[in-house]
Symmetry: C2
Subunit: 342 residues, 2 copies
């Protein structure tokens, strides 16, 4: 009998971490377009060329992810061999960006797939690994690349296909967070894990609408499980719902009794300026919430401009095959509460 394990769950989908892991370093690397956007000054590294000196966009994406992981480790004054686990995933078929980045690292590796929810998915499991006593140091990371995603999910760029105004622009970028146990850093205090939600949206050019119900479900469940209200957090940040999905999410949450609109941000809505960058509904991709959380928001926490953040990365779980077979788009969202209690 194992009754000596105290259950850390509070409510249906949330765990409260007894020994909140610290995010001791973070690193963000983005493509040229992201660097020219409104958050450009926050990113740690901006590429001049989205091929990053490689022969293919896919290889460039993997190199970006490797760069983010190793730079976060270096920034934490650690070495590769100090890291107990790497949790990473990406959008490419069979997760090759992550696997090929992990190939260059002698770190035990768990591959994750949550589509664009991967930043908070990896951060969730990484945090539980430290709190549960399985690791001293863990890296959570993810990436995406516009050109690699376009040709895999839609059309090769050379076709010059027209974009829908509801479409989002996959972010070229990678972000990594290094978690540890000690030091004066922002902490992961709660993890609310999402269930898959599908309200029947079939338009793969309107993923914000497909993901919004999942975001609404996870955010409302987080508040219900923790007893917190939206004003508890300085910022509530969804991953990549874009303009359309953000508006839907804000409105739908009102029906659950939560008004998040005054402190609600969406990484996809923030990263580009559509008026000059022609990005339609906003940014998307695993890299979107990865670089905005590690670049913009983590830095704001370290500078104590904000003290608490609920990060909810959101994923659309379709494939080109499932869409061609007439399936609707299931969504998922995982929430992580990050607080700087100092």
């Amino acid at each position: 009998m194992n009754n000596n394990i105290k259950l850390k769950k509070i409510g249906k989908q949330t765990v409260k971490l007894d020994n909140p892991p610290k995010i001791i370093a973070a690193y963000s690397i983005v493509g040229p377009k992201e660097g020219e956007g409104p958050l450009g000054s926050y990113f740690d590294e901006i590429l001049n060329d989205d091929l990053f000196g490689k022969e293919s966009f896919e290889k460039a994406e993997s190199e970006m992810l490797y760069t983010a992981i190793t730079a976060a480790i270096n920034r934490g004054k650690l070495k590769e061999e100090d890291i107990d686990y790497l949790f990473a995933g990406d959008l490419l078929n069979q997760l090759t960006s992550s696997s090929f980045a992990a190939r260059e690292l002698n770190i035990p590796f768990f591959g994750l797939y949550g589509a664009c929810s991967t930043m908070s998915e990896s951060l969730s499991i990484a945090s539980m690994m430290i709190d549960g006593g399985f690791a001293n140091y863990v890296v959570a990371a993810t990436s995406s690349h516009f050109s690699a995603a376009e040709r895999q999910f839609r059309f090769p760029l050379e076709y010059g296909s027209q974009r829908s105004p509801l479409a989002q622009w996959t972010v070229t970028g990678a972000g990594a967070m290094l978690l540890g146990k000690e030091g004066n850093f922002p902490e992961v205090t709660h993890v609310t894990t999402g269930v898959v939600k599908d309200y029947g949206v079939k338009d793969a050019n309107n993923m914000g609408a497909a993901m919004a119900p999942a975001a609404v479900d996870t955010i409302s469940m987080h508040f219900k499980d923790t007893g917190r209200t939206p004003d508890y957090y300085d910022v509530i940040v969804t991953g990549d719902l874009g303009k359309v999905g953000k508006e839907i999410t804000g409105k739908l949450l009102l029906e659950y009794g939560y008004d998040i609109r005054s402190n609600y941000y969406d990484c996809g809505d923030m990263i580009f300026d559509d008026s000059i960058q022609n990005t339609d509904s906003g940014g998307s991709g695993c890299g979107c919430s990865a670089v905005v959380s590690t670049g913009h928001f983590y830095k704001k926490m370290i500078r104590k401009e904000i003290r608490s953040m609920l990060l909810i990365s959101t994923g659309a779980l379709m494939s080109t095959t499932s869409s061609l077979q007439g399936e609707s788009i299931p969504g998922i969202a995982h929430a992580v509460a990050i607080e700087f209690k100092d």
Copy 2:
């Protein structure tokens, strides 16, 4: 400072679980060909038709996974709402078998990708979640489908392409394990997490050779970390190295000082009889180690025919894109020690 967390790591890549989770139920479902193979009598459910009444092989695979998950929960006399987390993954692009199965379940879901290593990957994280106090009940599951995998990774079956004698046959099947804290069941005692290994094999029709170095690395690391020797286990079971990879693994481990050959099995080598089933080097796919571990070996443990197993599912982490771009095939292997101490 969080020095009150006792680190459970022993050695570089292994954790010893203080409160070993119990595998309280398991379920396996396979296609007709697997049912006709040497292990047919062990599987819980054998399909007459590998479309499983669905319109596509992909939908059939997802339904098989859903069936395995719900049947394992039922067999444990639990309900969907009792399950704290589902950890699942599969081979299809963007993990649609798992996501679409999870869509039908109101269970917090983490998607994983480890190619054919997913059974032991999901079992590893699921076990740590229970041991760490984050869950009372967790399901670990995975699936694959020959016809869905062939058309995604190789050619549509209608082309009638010739197979290489080194090729493996993707298993049509899904397996699920239900983990909990109590009762007299086999326990997960140790988890050894793999690092990515790539020795330069580029032949996607010889994945056993590509994955063997990862298996050798993780197995030898498990023995080194735990101080155990091969004779500690009644059976040492790799996932889907097939005939070629199994032979390589047994030989390579001799160089590390470990002779596992007398109690070493490979799920891919066991599931088909090539002499009458024309499966060349053996079975592969996430479903291979899933159904052989849940069907054959778990049942042998419950019947006390074996008392201890080291399960090492093995994954080849390439995609069609990475192979077309000239990349070699990285491999990974995760080991889980399962012991029935009663």
